[in-house]
């Protein structure tokens, strides 16, 4: 059985491999008059299926077959892709966007800290909303975009699995948190 973490790695590596393969096959087409660029499209097609199925199908026999097939398709670029994906720079920064739902349109959430019924009590630093899980988010506090994972200053970390934002500082009453998720 292929683990969820390994599937995430496969997806990242395939995302990078698409660019590497495009480059190689274009050179091949130009210098050797041999056109295998269709294979790039196949990597994309299989990888999109992996992304869609990850929240639901990891561990099933059929999904494992597709994951293994993806791994085989990118084998030629695997080492380079894994290196690039691991550095966090270059072609891939952070983790790929893995939508929980194909119908998941982008949306916004606005919360006033400490207001009646607010999910964020005053002088706390955490907000969880499952809607944000497996999404890419943009965090805005009082109309200022906050950068994630900074070494110092007002920043935040985001747990993609649970949809939890943890700020480096407590939020004060009446501060307005807006989250755009895509």
């Amino acid at each position: 059985m292929i683990s969820n973490q390994l599937v995430t790695d496969y997806i990242k590596w395939a995302d990078v491999s698409i660019f590497l393969a495009s480059d190689d096959y274009q050179k091949q087409r130009y210098y050797e008059w041999k056109d295998e660029t269709q294979k790039v499209r196949v990597i994309y097609l299989v990888n999109e299926v992996l992304k869609w199925g990850q929240p639901y199908l990891v561990g099933t026999e059929g999904y494992d077959e597709v994951a293994t097939y993806s791994y085989a398709l990118i084998g030629q670029w695997l080492l380079e892709a894994a290196t690039i994906a691991a550095t966090g720079t270059g072609l891939v920064i952070g983790t790929p966007v893995i939508p929980t739902s194909t119908a998941g349109a982008a949306g916004t959430i606005t919360v006033t800290v400490g207001a009646l019924g607010s999910p964020i009590p005053a002088n706390t630093n955490q907000y969880t909303n499952p809607i944000m899980s497996n999404r890419t988010i943009i965090v805005i506090v009082d109309n200022v975009v906050i950068q994630p994972n900074l070494p110092s200053g007002f920043t935040y970390t985001f747990n993609n699995a649970t949809g939890t934002i943890i700020f480096s500082l407590n939020l004060s009453v009446n501060q307005v948190l807006t989250v755009i998720y895509i």
């Binding site: 196949v42 994309y44 097609l45 194909t102 998941g104 606005t110 919360v111």
Partner: protein
């Protein structure tokens, strides 16, 4: 702070179901101030999806009493659609600056995604099928239609999204000869 209506749309592995969650913040206006909450699911042809199935109204009654968790699971989705989803709230004490109606376009792609998954499984177990131009072109076309639908919905173009999904459905209907 004004009230702003908002919701999210999600589909899981069960393509016949659609989950809509009201994500509006009721901090500025409590739920008791609203007399109703309704959903309209407009198809591209202007008709609406009825829920429950025997309903005679165009709207779905997404009442606060009936759905205290602010989430409704709509069943009976028979195919992929480009839907314009409208959530309408009626306030008994409306405030200036508040927005009580939210409308957006969503591309329901579960059936197409399931078909794409099935095709990928065929390719995974029998890679030689990729040498068949009909197989490859059809697979690529199916993905293109899905991508087009998602992008069109992102830009609020319901009709293009729905048209792409209908083309995808035509391909799926020909699965036995395409794949």
């Amino acid at each position: 702070m004004p009230f702003i209506a908002n919701y999210t749309v999600a589909q899981g592995l069960n393509c016949s179901q659609l989950v809509i969650t009201d994500t509006s913040s009721y901090a500025s206006e409590a739920k008791v101030t609203f007399t109703y909450r309704r959903l309209y699911l407009y198809k591209a042809d202007g008709t609406t999806i009825k829920f429950p199935s025997g309903s005679v109204t165009d709207y779905i009654n997404f009442s606060f009493a009936g759905y205290p968790t602010d989430q409704i699971t709509i069943t009976g989705i028979d195919q992929d659609y480009g839907l314009r989803i409208v959530m309408e709230l009626n306030s008994s004490a409306p405030q200036v600056g508040s927005i009580y109606t939210k409308s957006s376009v969503a591309a329901l792609t579960c059936y197409t995604n399931t078909a794409l998954y099935n095709v990928a499984q065929i390719a995974a177990t029998s890679p030689i099928r990729l040498n068949d131009p009909v197989f490859y072109e059809s697979w690529s076309q199916l993905q293109t239609e899905k991508d087009a639908a998602v992008v069109a919905a992102t830009y609020g173009d319901q009709f293009s999204a729905d048209a792409a999904l209908k083309r995808a459905k035509n391909l799926i209907n020909q699965s036995s000869i395409k794949f």
